[in-house]
Amino acid sequence: MTGVTATATAAAGTDASYLAVFDAAVAADDRIEPRDWMPEAYRSSLVRQMAQHAHSEIIGMQPEANWITRAPSLRRKAILMAKVQDEAGHGLYLYSAAETLGTGRDELLDKLHSGRQKYSSIFNYPTLTWADVGAIGWLVDGAAITNQVPLCRCSYGPYARAMVRICKEESFHQRQGYELLLTLSKGTPEQHAMAQDAVNRWWWPSLMMFGPPDDESAHSAQSMTWKIKRHSNDELRQRFVDIAVGQAEGLGLTLPDPELRWNEDRGHHDFGEIDWTEFWEVLKGNGPCNEQRITQRRRAHEEGAWVRDAAAAYATKQQTQRAHETQQETTVAAAQHPNGEATA
């Protein structure tokens, strides 16, 4: 909906009329924009989701950055550096988009550091070999894209627009990850084994990225009504499995699930039960790297405090100086009498 129409219509009305305008806009697949009225719960739900998304980009830099200094060729090193740089950029877009809802980046980072806001559970798994960089690109970015492409049509405009840009770059990363794994798979026996081992370790955590099963997903129903979300967790997970099976064949690698098979009747792949105990444990902070990831993030922030303070102090000084110079110019100009005679 256009901000003007909504505001004008709602201005004369009651809460109920605001809500009616909002509901109608969502129903018509119009975009909600920052100045539009929106239910408080819609606002807070979006802040939670966008913040978590932004935090995931930032924490997600760590498992991959872990391999920048050991990348085995200069080409791969350049690709990996560019990818980690993109992730920082995605974090910036998403924090900006979240800020349109009246929150601040500092506040959001504070909530991340104190554990009051979460990030994707996938980044609590360690990158143990070079092949993990490829598995993250193929599976983790693949799952992220499956989740995020529908967000390009999310009802909240700034989020939807951020996702359009982000999805383009993510697809590129995913292809690079796939190509990395393919090279390993077709390489020496040791490289092939490294690729298979990485896929074995990342497959199930990637399926967990779609969140709990539909009947246990706390926010799903409301998010779908508001068109923040377009498909259920289980639907997206199924879509991802169906795509990944063919891609694994292309790679010459297997997926670590003995129950994985095509189901003619459903027109989908059946797959084994996810270890939900592990999922909830990782979510609670008991995954392999939860402690390490948040500690590094906090340390970077704390050790950078003096740099941020310096930048702020410098900016203030510059501002004061500019104000002073402007004042001097004004004084000099005022000192000039209109007829050209300087006043004493």
Binding site: M61, T69, M81, V307
Partner: protein, 239 residues
Amino acid sequence: MTAIVLTDAALALGDDALVLSHRLGEWAGHAPVLEEEVALANIALDLLGQARVLLSQVGDEDELAYLREERAFRNLQLVEQPNGDFAHTIARQLYFSTYQHLLYGELAAGEGEFTALAAKAVKEVEYHRDHAEQWTLRLGDGTEESHRRMQRACEALWRFTGEMFQPAPGLDLDWADLETRWTASVTSVLGRATLTVPEGPRTGAWAAGAGRQGLHTESFGRMLAEMQHLHRSHPGASW
């Protein structure tokens, strides 16, 4: 210029870019603000790109990067210095990118093998220099603590700056003039940043041109061990 000399020059400049790029890559996930995650990675990528072009002129870029030992690297000792705190990283950037900017400016204006590369690189390096200058001003003229840290960083790295002006084999430049212009530029930035130009010697007997002869500082070997380990563990593999 003979082929051998060209090779030496490409190696020297390529190793500078390769090694500094690696050091900047170590910042990923550790920067003080998100914008600096982007900026430092961006500079690292530019440098890696330059390194790849230069090393490819000499031979296979990966063989050169991953299979040479410490004594065969020709980079300046300045660029191999550990990151230290953000001020150290910025001081190293200021010293090196000012140098690289002047050097590539000369090469871009001249004729020869490096003209095309230098013409592209000089634009990138101008951004690097500007980034380092802006941060030198913010840190130098920021808070008391940032001023102290920036001053200390400038002093700690000062003794590695003389090496930049030891004539690099194959590069026919007026090195004394380069040094004069470098000093003027750095002095001006430090002055505006309320910092004092360090008084210590610009180079010791040990550091004079040492990196260009394959004589490095101790942390460099460890850096290479990390950089080369995986590649060396799989001889002959493609990645």
